[in-house]
């Protein structure tokens, strides 16, 4: 089972809470605006960005198309280079493998490179249950871990925290985890980074067991790739004697040359840099250099379920750059926690339901956490058509309620939406039509929302779960696209 944030309410309720938190909205709006500008600048430098996107999508698609062959090649190459390959069907199996290896080496702590997949499987909890302390070494992960908080962004898990809050957390918590923060710590980012450097230094120097993920795994050469900024990754991948990398099976690419479009796409889309400060590549064990015992855990945990979905499988191309989060008007207003998963934002809204399957109200609500504006697709470096998958998943949720006597309003709306999205040129048409019906609904509406917008009231049937927590606004007179163009996505409003 995929790890969810325990007790997390479905998206609409969580979003409403998050919207009330103005500090969070302010932090997020600032951070995402900064990164959008940086991304746009370095993407604009590339002569044929669209061609590069197509090549990136093709490289990942090709790997998925022949996933079995690629996984077997990867295993063979890794094994021949001295690594031990493990296979894990789900989170529990993967955790048991990592915990078992740590116990076999008798360690009571491990250092960790930031990795989405170990968050997904809840590895830290499993390690703690076994009496082993997992130290997060990425700065943002450290902030989340020390703050006893939840990650809210793929790239910068502590994006919801501002410098003053981070200073507070360091002053309060560092001493309990090791070297305390300097007493005169200021909230300058450089000072905070220095405090983290000193705090983690002693952990790196003594570490003997490390856990990482991987951004890419090359089947042809058995090469694992970790992309990072701070050097904490290099510390973990280089200094300890034992290295365990947990790798989702969708991380595999067929050939060495496939790294080319991907390594040009990822840093530009992610941190808005031409290249991230450090990228480490290794293939099994290198005698006399780095860990001499290397394990790779290949993890399914719902990925094959996503792969079986003909429309949804494109989500497995995701390289976790977070560009779709940074550009999403819904994410910018609600933050990452509202999605109740380590994969928030537009990609989370499709990946979580695809990997977990339908049935859970929290997961089922995620495909509705979108206005279908299409901005996520525009920025996605591997051209995942997130709106297409969202519409598809909405109809799947609705299909789960086929027994209902009458088609629900949501079902009708969603069928119309999927018709509209099947052909982009239809979209403008539909928007004009819904603008029209908005004026009709507006007159018939039973209540008025705060801010004076008309409400369409609450819907019946399966949509109740959604509208029960959120008043459904009547379709606006101005379409989302028109509003977006006029206000630059609400930022000028």
């Amino acid at each position: 089972m995929t790890h969810t944030f325990v007790g997390m309410p479905p998206f609409p309720a969580a979003a409403r809470e998050a919207l009330a938190n103005t500090q969070l909205r302010h932090n997020l709006a600032h951070a995402t605006a900064v990164i959008r500008a940086k991304r746009a600048a370095v993407v604009g430098e590339v002569e044929d960005w669209e061609g590069l996107r197509r090549a990136g999508a093709a490289a990942k698609e090709r790997a998925l198309l022949d996933l079995e062959t690629n996984l077997l090649r990867l295993e063979e190459e890794l094994t021949s280079r001295g690594a031990t390959v493990h296979w894990a069907r789900d989170a529990e199996e993967a955790n048991a493998i990592v915990v078992g290896l740590a116990q076999r080496h008798g360690v009571d702590e491990v250092v960790k490179v930031k990795s989405m997949v170990t968050q997904e499987i809840g590895l830290n909890d499993a390690l703690v249950d076994a009496g082993i302390l997992p130290w997060e070494t990425d700065l943002a992960e450290l902030i989340v871990q020390l703050g006893d908080d939840l990650p809210s962004h793929i790239l910068v898990p502590a994006i919801h925290r501002n410098r003053a809050e981070i200073r507070e957390i360091f002053l309060r918590q560092m001493a309990q985890a090791g070297r305390p923060a300097p007493a005169l710590l200021t909230d300058e980012p450089a000072a905070l980074a220095e405090a983290a450097r000193l705090h983690l230094r002693e952990k790196f120097m003594r570490a003997s067991f490390a856990v990482s993920g991987a951004n890419f795994a090359v089947a042809q050469t058995g090469t694992l790739v970790v992309v990072e900024s701070e050097g904490n990754g290099r510390m973990c991948l280089t200094l300890p004697e034992v290295l365990v990398s947990v790798v989702g099976i969708e991380k595999v690419v067929a050939d060495w040359s496939d790294l080319d479009p991907l390594l040009r796409l990822l840093p530009r889309s992610s941190t808005g840099e031409r290249m991230n400060p450090y990228t480490s590549m290794w293939s099994g064990v290198t005698p006399g250099d780095g860990p001499q015992e290397v394990h790779v855990v290949l993890l399914d945990n719902g990925r094959t379920r996503a792969l079986a979905d003909e429309v949804g499988r494109q989500a497995l191309r995701c390289i976790r750059c977070s560009a779709c989060l940074n550009t999403c008007p819904v994410y910018e207003r609600t933050g990452g926690h509202a999605y109740g998963s380590v994969y928030p934002g537009p990609i989370g809204a499709i990946l979580n339901p695809l990997m977990r399957g339908p049935g859970d109200p929290q997961t089922d609500s995620l495909p509705y956490a979108s206005s279908l504006c299409g901005a996520c697709f525009e920025v996605c470096p591997v051209r995942i058509d997130i709106p297409e998958v969202l519409v598809h998943l909405r109809s799947r949720v609705v299909d789960g309620h086929r027994g209902d006597r009458l088609p629900t309003p949501e079902a009708v709306a969603m069928r119309a939406a999927s018709w509209a999205f099947a052909d982009a040129s239809r979209l403008g048409l539909v928007e004009r039509a819904s603008g029209l019906s908005g004026t009709v609904l507006g007159r018939l509406s039973r209540s008025v929302l705060p801010g004076g917008r008309a409400s369409a009231g609450r819907l019946a049937g399966p949509a109740t779960a959604w509208t029960g927590a959120r008043d459904l606004p009547a379709p606006p007179r101005e379409s989302f696209r028109q509003w977006w163009a006029r206000t630059d996505g609400g930022r000028d409003e």
Binding site: V156, L192, E230
Partner: protein, 235 residues
Amino acid sequence: MSEARGAEFAKWSNEDGTGAGARGEILGRVRAALSDKGYAAQRATAASAAPAPGAPSPTPAQPAVPRRSPLSGSERLELFAERVADYRAIVERCAAAGLEEAVRRAVALADSVLVAPGLPLDIPGARVDDGLTASALDIVDAVVTTAAVAIAETGTIVLDHGSGQGRRAITLVPDRHVCIVRADQVVDDVPDALERLDPRRPLTWISGPSATSDIELTRVEGVHGPRHLHVILVG
């Protein structure tokens, strides 16, 4: 390890022979997941020839990967220097005859200097790495190495940790990294670098000093890796 834990581990670990259950099941799920018609047809075209070990996979209608327009020799070196400097690294150019002098200046303020075995330079007082521990490396002020490849477009140097570059730890723990790049090692862009590199060696791609943008997405140079990167471009 407790007995129950041990048994649990044995159940899932390949080493103990029984992880095969998970392996077989995952591969079976993959096969089943891709059995629909559209994919089956695409696969048939793709799998007409099985790849020889180590050879690239067969390519079903791959779009060409676009490349940047080629740079002339001098443009390439200029762009490389400019892009390295953009990361707030120090970059200087010198002729082969001036290299030794440039390196000495670069480490003039360092109390302790380490070099990788095989570095083709004489640096007075420098110690050649002979497997120092991490803690010993932590009190080294500066390390001097060569590189394998450098990328103009992204301002990146790549180490393959061969002769002159040393094992990975020596260019990681000390606070100042002085890296010597020959002009003929500089290539235009990422795909050119991949063609020159040996994927079976450990590789470290370095673009500027270590940095983080984790606090309000403001870039701060200097976290865990070397806080000072000094690139000397020769020729």
